[in-house]
Symmetry: C2
Subunit: 480 residues, 2 copies
């Protein structure tokens, strides 16, 4: 109660006033995370963690359905193992945490706390892959990883975060490429079907790809304020790591060959995306499939005879089908309305004496506050329908935002004007030279290539930056 | 196949010949773990991890049913935070891994990789507990922890392992004590109902309790060879940590009070217990509730017309209710029998041309090789019944082992004789002085007090070791 009363006093900052402040206000008031005394590390509180559990369950089902198995690798990587693949170590060494002491002894070789686990998977694969019959190996791991970040924000960029990392090995390059794109598609489906988030997908440029990868594919949702979030990546490695780690197999033609590799991952960043794509000035707005509470039941005039009993009866009945919370506390109904709006609960169910008389209740959608009067006879069906409407409503709204904030630039002046004045994605042609990416980033305060989409539009013949012949259409934008 | 053929050649060591070697052979051949280049850290392979996932799901349901919520705390603990509770730091500091560098900078304060998270939970609780209305807080975390072990063995003792750690705060000492015992009971039920493992439970002596706890309760199953495994612990802390971390709340009487705390945990050690309690000379024997594959379907004479089709039809049908694997590979039926026995699959289903004619199949129990001829009409019901029989059979056999290897010692000579010649638990009286525990441990090569049971037997009036008046009946035994 003490905590709750404090919450009544502080209002959250409006999105338009200060988006960054709005974001941290929502996280605090919805009780998603807490800060800890460890630099850049967050405590994920029960309500935040419950969102992650729902995300995990859904994704894990998708991974298993596509033939993947879960494993667990050590959290430490000996320095010599990390150094086996040159590009990889160059990319990660500057941002890892090093263990140098175990108990009272100084280690002869320091160990890094895994920033990602390609090297560990490769070491294991070298031992268990001998024949083409052992392929493919389709492993995934759920764990936490550490990247020593200088500036951190809950969910978006933290020194430690939770994620999954898939690491697979294949007989041919073609199969590995198929896997890379299959898993990007799994992410895309998951974003759309479960998180209600639309996104742009495509290939990263050379400059932006993962350390050690031959190709990196990405899913890039747009936040409400027009800024991109790299929402998940899928990498094709060729046989580079396999050569560095001496992973070989006897092929169908009895020759010794190197397998072809992929990796792919998404993280607790997705919770950041949920907040910034769907949230509003009243707080969090959660898509029904990951909401820890799908229906908040609020008794109206609960002191009146029969109201609480009826509310409990409904809660018991609904909890067999939905994630339900009955709030029978002595707070006012108005306080409860705000509380569950803040927490982003997709549906509020109000039940009072008059409703009981008519054998009905009121459903209120979080996304648009639409009220539905629903007969108690058809409650389950009506709630299922309303939850589907909330999901679709959220998706449509996010898609409209993404479309409205996607611009086309044909000249560099146009590009600079949009970058300065209209936050969002910019579609523009590019020559393929990373020098233009550097120039754009410098002259726009951070606009980067997001990706080369799978279906490119022909917007002009020349690079928007240097005027040389264009090779690709690129999505550009600032990012978290 | 290359891997599989190698397996055919090596047989596993017999249990009676060399139990330790048998244990590592089973782990290797059932593909539960692999060694890594990181000292004392293991790779948990898909089959091993699938057991852990089943354990997790079952336990998590039990935790949530008793009102607990999951959270995630940082994996690092600043040295100053670890030092806040004196007994706790003294217990853990000698065996932690220290991070001293982040990226290229040397940290001003070193961070330990969590060996357990009391200190982090306390830091968080200090911020969110203000009033008696905020209590109880019933949090749990699934994560990995690190303890820098000198000698390690897969699952039993490794530098990193997976576990859950519950940390709860209560208004009164009585409520915290109730929670401590409630969670021990949850573990006991889980061991019996899910792992099919009987155990002795009770309170640890002062000498054996957890660093910083007032009381530690333990569950101690007995391995097949008579050696104990500390299978899970539940601790009552009183308000010691609360005082060290300045966690206070306003009580019902409006005074400032310290809350009362518990913690409790079980780990991947339980997989070690599964192996050593139920396994036999043919390999792993898994209780049906955690077995990744509950029924292995082996087609007999699979080249004959209709056999594979029927096997596939049965597999599809059964996979709606059970975890099923059809092995349609070109290995011989005999090879497959050994393979799934090695992997501990509770039931084998054989289906061949003659069975198809009679519309039946053969079920073979892993625990006792009993054969059942079953009509395909009643297959689901018969499999469910057979799985329940396997579970009960495993429990009964383990209980018989525990009872047969539990001895009573009334004199010190008896005690030494049993300790030297009959591995198992020894019930004997104790004066309450840790000097006797030290003496017994020294003179028996490692027999320790397992616990003081909840219902003590009166075996004699005096301590089995020193002859002074007895205070308690204790279970003694060697441990992993």
């Amino acid at each position: 109660m003490a905590e709750q009363q404090k919450k009544m006093v502080e209002a959250i900052t409006a999105m338009d006033e200060d988006f960054a402040k709005w974001y941290t206000d929502v996280i605090k008031k919805a009780e998603l995370t807490d800060y800890s005394s460890v630099k850049g590390c967050m405590v994920i509180r029960p309500y935040g963690y419950a969102i992650w559990e729902n995300i995990q369950q859904d994704l894990d089902r998708r991974f298993k359905k596509t033939g993947h198995e879960n494993v667990y690798m050590p959290m430490f990587i000996p320095e010599s193992l990390l150094q086996k693949e040159k590009d990889h170590v160059a990319g990660f060494a500057p941002e890892v945490a090093w263990v140098t002491q175990g108990g009272s002894e100084t280690l002869t070789e320091r160990l890094c706390v895994r920033p990602t686990s390609e090297t560990l998977f490769c070491e294991h694969y070298a031992k268990i892959i001998n024949s083409y019959r052992d392929l493919p190996k389709l492993y995934n791991q759920w764990c936490s990883v550490v990247r020593w970040e200088k500036t951190t924000r809950p969910f978006l960029r933290s020194s430690e975060f939770l994620w999954q990392e898939g690491h697979t090995m294949h007989e041919t390059a073609e199969e590995a490429r198929e896997e890379t794109l299959r898993m990007l598609k799994v992410y895309e489906d998951f974003y759309r079907e479960t998180l209600a988030i639309p996104a742009v997908t495509g290939r990263k440029t050379e400059k932006e790809k993962f350390a050690g990868a031959m190709e990196t594919y990405t899913i890039e949702p747009m936040m409400h304020n027009g800024v991109a979030l790299q929402g998940g990546t899928s990498h094709y490695f060729g046989d580079g790591f396999a050569r560095s780690f001496d992973i070989t197999f006897t092929g169908r033609d009895n020759t010794l060959q190197y397998p072809h590799q992929t990796s792919w991952g998404v993280s607790t960043r997705m919770i950041g995306a949920l907040i910034m794509v769907h949230g509003d000035d009243n707080g969090l707005v959660l898509p029904p499939k990951v909401a820890p509470i799908q229906v908040a039941i609020i008794p109206i005039a609960q002191h009146k005879e029969g109201v609480l009993e009826k509310a409990r009866e409904i809660a018991d009945r609904l909890s067999e089908t939905f994630r339900v919370k009955l709030d029978a506390s002595d707070q006012s109904a108005g306080w409860k309305f705000s509380e569950y709006e803040m927490k982003g609960v997709p549906l509020r169910l109000e039940i009072g004496p008059k409703d009981i008389e008519k054998n009905q209740c009121v459903l209120v959608r979080r996304d648009n506050r639409e009220k539905l009067f629903v007969s108690l006879h058809e409650l389950e069906a009506e709630i299922a329908r309303a939850l589907a409407l909330v999901h679709d409503g959220l998706y449509e709204r996010a898609l409209a935002n993404l479309q409205a904030k996607t611009y086309v630039a044909r000249t560099y002046d146009e590009f600079l004007d949009i970058a300065a004045n209209r936050p969002g994605f910019i579609k523009a042609m590019w020559c393929g030279d990373s020098a233009c990416e550097d120039k754009i980033k410098d002259e726009t305060g951070g606009v980067k290539s997001r990706c080369i989409p799978f279906v490119e539009e022909h917007l002009s013949d020349v690079c928007v930056c240097c005027g040389k012949p264009a090779k690709h259409q690129v999505y550009w934008g600032k990012q978290y």
